[in-house]
Structures are given as structure tokens and as C-alpha cells.
Subunit: 125 residues, 2 copies
């Protein structure tokens, strides 16, 4: 894998925020520094980086895929009303993948735990 300033800018944008952005958001953000970057480059690198486990592909929330620059194991809350994705600090056994792996007839590498509901902002409005 060669270096590229585009890829570095994508990582920087992703790590600068906790909103768990979409490809579009990252595109807008990176264009401030590299105005002619292509949206295809954003997608190509997000896929490449997540396949290398340098970032986390959270999955499709609403219409678009969400990404996370924080690769430390943690869980997410998704607001069903506004589609906001937030980190959720919930102490539970993060080794459940390993435990499940022992019981499962196949190979379990990792897990994803998502909580769904309504965020405070939406409850207040």
C-alpha cells in the first residue's frame, strides 16, 4: 500500500470527529483541503482502510453507511428518529466474541452491538 495524501486526509477527517460520519460528510470535509478529490476516492479508501482494520465500518444506518475512526472496541447507540450515531459507554464483557466462538461451529472474529431508540435531543422536541 502506497502512501497518498488523499488517504491521509480521509483518516484525519474521520478521526477529527465523533459523529460517525457518512462518506458524503467525509467528502465535504476533505474537499476543504483537497478541493478536487473524487467521491470514488473516498469510498475506495474507506473500503480499503476498513478491510485493513484501520477504521471501522459500522454499517448502513438509514440510507448511508457510517464509519468510525475509533478502532477501540466499543458500542453504539442509533437514534431511530434522527439517525444520529453515538458512542455508548456500557460496561459489559467485550470477550463475548471469544466465548461465542468456542460454542459456534465456525470462526467468529468480532461482533457488533448496536442499541436503538430515541436520543435526548429528539425526546426534547
Amino acid at each position: 500500500m502506497k502512501r497518498s495524501k488523499q488517504r491521509e486526509a480521509i483518516i484525519e477527517a474521520l478521526c477529527s470527529t465523533t459523529i460517525h460520519p457518512t462518506a458524503d460528510w467525509i467528502y465535504d470535509e476533505v474537499r476543504k483541503k483537497i478541493p478536487n478529490i473524487s467521491l470514488g476516492t473516498i469510498y475506495r479508501n474507506l473500503n480499503l482502510l476498513s478491510s485493513e482494520n484501520d477504521i471501522v465500518k459500522i454499517g448502513v444506518i438509514g440510507e448511508q453507511c457510517r464509519y468510525d475512526g475509533n478502532i477501540k472496541p466499543h458500542n453504539h447507540f442509533v437514534c431511530k428518529r434522527c439517525n444520529k450515531v453515538m458512542d455508548i459507554d456500557f460496561e459489559y464483557d467485550n470477550s463475548i466474541s471469544e466465548e461465542a466462538d468456542k460454542l459456534f461451529d465456525g470462526d467468529i472474529e468480532y461482533h457488533s452491538l448496536l442499541f436503538f431508540g430515541t436520543c435526548k435531543d429528539c425526546l426534547d422536541n
Copy 2:
């Protein structure tokens, strides 16, 4: 909500299998009984039923959304190689949504726990 034989056939198809099918699979299945049913009807009803909590929308795996007729709380395993979705029998505390709700500044309704890895069939090939 009025009855419709299309919706009933969709529920029947979904409950007849454990493969956690896509809308396309259900479309093919239901067409055996109702040959001129429309794909739009499949999508419309799957969305309606999941919003009424009569079925479960697992989410997008690979390219397409997967559904489950089994609404009893349970977890899923996703094979990253073949995109197969399987039920996984893993005993853990299903009340974590309620516990997380107490700690979270917002309203948590439910959670989704997905395990990712490689299934036995793929490991053998």
C-alpha cells in the same frame, strides 16, 4: 391495517425459513402462490410489518437487507465470505438494553448483536 392475502403470504414465506432472506428471495417464494405480486408490495409490507414489530429487519448484509420472521430475542452470526446469516445460540443477558437504558441519556428500546466471521461451510472449502 386491513388484511391482504399478499401480506399474509409474505409472512408465511418469511416464517417458513431460517435463512433470514432478502426481499428478492421472498418475492420469488411468494410468486409461486401469487404470480403477479409486485416487488414493491414485498418491500412495502416488509417495512410495514417491521415498523409494527411483527417481523425483524436485521439490516443490510452485503448488498441487501435481511429479514427475520422470528421475533423472539436472539442473536445472529454473519459469514463475511458468503453472507449467510444464521441464528446463534449464545446465552447472555438479554436485558442489556434495559440496563443500558438506565445509564443512557435518552431512550433505548432494543439492541442488535451481530457476530461476524467465517461459517463452517466456507472454512471447509
